[in-house]
Amino acid sequence: MNGIAADRPGRFSDGRSAAVRKVVVRVLATGLEIRGADGFLIAVWKTGDLIADGNWAEKRGVRLRCASEPDARLAIEDAYVIRDVLPQPPSPPRRKRHALVLACLLGAGVLAGLLLGLAPGSRLLAHLVPVGLERQWGQSIATGLEGQMKACEGRDGLRVLDALARRLAEPLPAERRQVSIHVLRSKDINALALPGGEIILFSGLLAKAEGPDELAGVLAHELTHIGQRHVTAAMIRALGVGVFATMITGDASGLVASGLGAALAGAYSREDESAADMGALSLLEAAGIGSEGLAQFFRRLEIMEGQQGQLLAWLGTHPESGSRAAAVEARRRPEPHLPALSDADWQAVKRVCSKPKP
């Protein structure tokens, strides 16, 4: 009988109150018998239910739990005897690995969702934004820009530009056709499409354009941005990236979000620019103007890119001008085309930023 030899002092709390009492633990073939100091039986723990709960270092003991009484705690002194007697040394619960697997899968899933779903998702959402709201938003941005930079107010020139835009916008869906054009005084060779139907042309671009066909090409490009709601989609995309990054990392400071946003914005925006170039081709063809001017404009940009830092506006978010020109030229059809503007109209556009004569 090894029971007597394995009588060990210990501490027991029953899990019903926070009291602890001194006990004597006897090891039987079937498990542990826990008795109070007065000899009354308190509990019997079956061997199969025993769960290791670490060591009781200062008393060279072990701590045990019991699967059938999960709140009770037992600590046994001088446990080397008990370790020998127990049929199987109770093992700590096996470490589960599925948390790690789950976390890995989730991480991969989120990343895949971001890469695959972001662009189509934001495009879809952009088309759900009410036109009125988009237009209001674009107008307020345009007003803000006009406040910062001086607007050019040559009436004839603006009228010509509006007419040219309307002619090019003919194939666009009806609610996208109402565009208004603003010319702002700035040396940048750039044009912007705002949400809704506002197009901003910088006077630098008008000055550098060598003919109405080039101007028509740029206008057709911006009109495609408007027609395909690129700006609104980009806003939604940026918001989506920010939300996603914050979601995954839990970094509410926005550091991760803005970094990732900037990294992805460039890639997506180049995609939009290429789409706008291709869209511009069909608008130009539909208007009978032809894509010669657009290709020419890109060729000249390419040359200027070699020289100037002024064109950085185009570089960061736009594809390289040479390859754009090549892409446009590849799609060119050798058709006779109509002039974009008459000579008189072109002169009016060129004068749009000069002071009106008294």
């Binding site: 899990g15 009291a19 670490g54 790690l100 976390a103 938003w137 307020s140 939300v243």
Partner: protein, 358 residues
Amino acid sequence: MSISAPLQRPFVHSGGTGAMIRLALVNLVLSVVTLSLWRFWGKTRVRRQLWGGTTAWADPVEYIGTGKELFIGFLLVLFVIYLPIVGGLAWAQVLVAAGDPLGGLVMSVLYLLTVLLVAVGLYRARRYQMSRTRWRGIRGGQTGSGWGYALRSLLVWIAVPLSLGWAWPWGEMWLARYRFNNTTFGDRRFTCDATASGLYGRFLLVWISGLLFALVAAFLAWGAAEVARGSGLSEARVGFLFTMALAVLAVIILVLPWAWYRAGFYRNLAAGIRFEGSRFAADAGAWRLMRLVAGNMVISLFSLGTLRPWASLRTFRYACAIIGVEGEPDFAAVHRSADTGPKTGEGLIAVLDGAGEF
């Protein structure tokens, strides 16, 4: 309570630094692999080590929360609270851009709501942690309401600037009283009648040194502006030197008085806490507290937050070393409570704050 029982130090922490640093590094690697989604499980492991290394009256404290609970809590808050707030802010942005005065209103309401939610989240995180803390098989817990706590916090945040800082000791203690009067162990409640009386002497020193710091900083700023104008040094360089000088000054002038005040605060607070006939005490001194906080800051900063578990370990050790209890509470009277605490944890604070302490 008429007889003052001898002071015991029942809390002992035996967790090793090496094991904690290893765990922190493993967590770092796994977080990188899983796009940081591992952090819920990693945090849980750190807490198990922190809690599990602590013994009270020779019995170990257990942390029984799981990573899954933290993760689900995070997801819930993400979709139910964070995304609607982001959506609301985006809408408010559009309104502001459109010049609608409603936009500013919506935005300020949402910002206030977010700030309040952080306070709610802090309180609820504490409730989760208490409910996942077990000792002798009995759970801790926390009553009271997160919103009640948040509104009290708001009141303190308003009162502090209005009173030129003088409401701070009172407000801080008021909030601490609310936390501890709502802390439970089993079916019994802690009580806390700590007040800020006796703290105002220490706070006066903090206040005066704050004033002194402001004066010196103003003088330095004036001097820096003069130097920048007089010499050829670039503005950025002068600005950098100015910031460095300011940081050194802050350490010299502010830190010691502040540590002295904090030590007094902890002493007052602990002396006001009672549980089942025993009074707590904290032997907090300014010098040791300052070493703890400074060391933790250095660890967190230089490891970019990855070794924060080590800092937490130091905090646990410090708390175990200084907390004393007069006599032993009547643990036989403490029974387990029916309240099992929240099902998920800490979502609010994980989403809105990002950086938890443990």
